[in-house]
């Protein structure tokens, strides 16, 4: 058991919680330690996992990696004010690639698959489903449809169209409510874990 370590961890934990009371020196100290430690952590991690493992170790096997290194080097030219603008090239490259890649992925996975999944019979084959199923499926199909109407930009939300949009925002609000409930659940679990650390691992008061 590492006595110093566990007291340090508890000290920092409580320092962060003290922010709930108000901003204070203990919090500022914990915050600064956090910023310093985590910035250092990411420099270390990015060097070893990204630069060393992805480039340095494999630079001979895969000549294409040198392109990445070149782009990274151009990025570093930011440090020289006179030619700093060259750093826009790698940025432009990243923008283009991101836009190109993500656009297609989302088109395929979100638009097409989800549209197809919503095409469904309202009742089971040969009316095997109950009235309840019919209503449920109507909610699913109608909710999705009206939700799309809500996001429609080209038309003012008025009249029948406005009513559909209103049903759409209702559906979306139910979704948000459900997500809210799940979020509460999640956050409480995390706090339970943290309090378990304080009372079990640190102080040993819990059985």
């Amino acid at each position: 058991m590492d006595h110093f370590g566990i007291w340090l961890a508890a000290f920092l934990t409580l320092g962060i919680y003290s922010f709930l009371y108000r901003d204070n020196a203990w919090y500022k100290l914990s915050e600064s330690i956090f910023i310093g430690i985590s910035a250092g952590y990411w420099v270390v991690i990015l060097f070893w996992d990204n630069f060393y493992a992805k480039f340095w170790l494999q630079r001979q096997d895969d000549p294409m990696l040198w392109v990445g290194a070149a782009l990274g080097f151009l990025m570093l030219l930011r440090l020289i004010p006179k030619i700093g603008w060259i750093a826009r090239w790698p940025l432009a490259f990243i923008d283009g690639a991101t836009a190109g890649l993500w656009g297609m992925n989302f088109l395929a996975s979100n638009i097409m698959v989800q549209t197809k999944a919503t095409i469904m019979p309202l009742m089971g084959p040969a009316f095997s489903g109950s009235i309840g199923d019919l209503l449920s499926n109507l909610v699913l199909v109608g909710g999705t449809f009206c939700g799309l109407i809500y996001f429609f930009f080209s038309k003012e939300h008025k009249g029948a169209f406005g009513n559909a949009a209103r049903v759409g925002i209702w559906t979306i609000m139910i979704t948000f409510g459900a997500m809210f409930g799940y979020t509460v659940m999640s956050r409480m679990s995390l706090l339970i874990g943290r309090i378990d650390f304080l009372f079990r691992d640190w102080l040993g008061l819990l059985k």
């Binding site: 060097f47 060393y52 990696l65 990274g72 283009g96 209702w170 459900a178």
Partner: protein, 216 residues
């Protein structure tokens, strides 16, 4: 020129990546993999800029004795502590008995878990302060939240234990999740995807260009 070249790069790269989605032939089939590698390497280089910026701001604070400059010393000290711990041990820095791991376990890990768990308190205060049955929309949100919160813990079925199976709170919650919730999610997902496609196109076509800088 300083402006045109980046726009040209974005446009060409964007189009090539869109096309590569449909072409299984070499080299197009390798492009996304390459990009992922390159991006990792660029990230590793760029962190130098970030770290230097952090150090610059901190040292300026210390030199000019700005408010709370003492904490900037802490930032710099802990930063270098982590750097030394991470690089002195070579590639095995993540081993179980290294200083790096110790620092991770007893500072980084508790700090990030705590900051994460502090959310519970903010969730509570936001719930108390902001979730009001102001109008029909807000009331629906509250209602759904209520059923999910109570129906997804054992206490919900304890309360409705007298009801037949299939009509208890947990079942109602299940229905909300499966039907209206999923409908809303789908509408949001499809909308987001469309927005994403359109933004991507605008970036590729150079209609959105301010993020690539001005003329000097």
């Amino acid at each position: 020129m300083r402006r045109e070249i980046p726009l040209l790069i974005t446009g060409i790269v964007g189009v090539v990546f869109v096309i590569s989605y449909f072409i299984p032939h070499f080299p197009f089939n390798m492009m996304d993999g390459w990009f992922s590698d390159w991006f990792s390497i660029i990230q590793a280089c760029a962190i130098v800029l970030g770290a230097l910026n952090l150090l610059l701001i901190s040292s300026q604070k210390i030199i000019r004795r700005k408010t709370d400059w003492g904490y900037s010393i802490v930032v710099m000290a802990t930063f270098f502590l982590m750097i030394i711990a991470g690089f002195s041990g070579g590639v095995e820095f993540r081993g179980p008995d290294t200083t790096f791991t110790w620092l991770y376990n007893f500072t980084f890990m508790p700090l990030s878990s705590t900051m994460y768990a502090i959310l519970a308190f903010f969730v509570a205060s936001a719930s108390y302060r902001a979730f009001r049955a102001r109008n029909a929309e807000a009331t629906l949100l509250l209602g759904a939240a209520f059923f999910v919160m109570i129906g997804r813990v054992p206490i919900g079925d304890l309360i409705t234990g007298f009801m037949p199976e299939g009509a208890r709170l947990s079942d109602l919650t299940g229905w909300i999740m499966d039907y209206p919730q999923t409908a809303g999610q789908r509408a949001i997902m499809i909308g987001i995807a469309l927005g994403l496609v359109s933004t991507s196109l605008r970036v590729i076509l150079g209609i959105e260009r301010s993020h690539l800088g001005g003329d000097s």
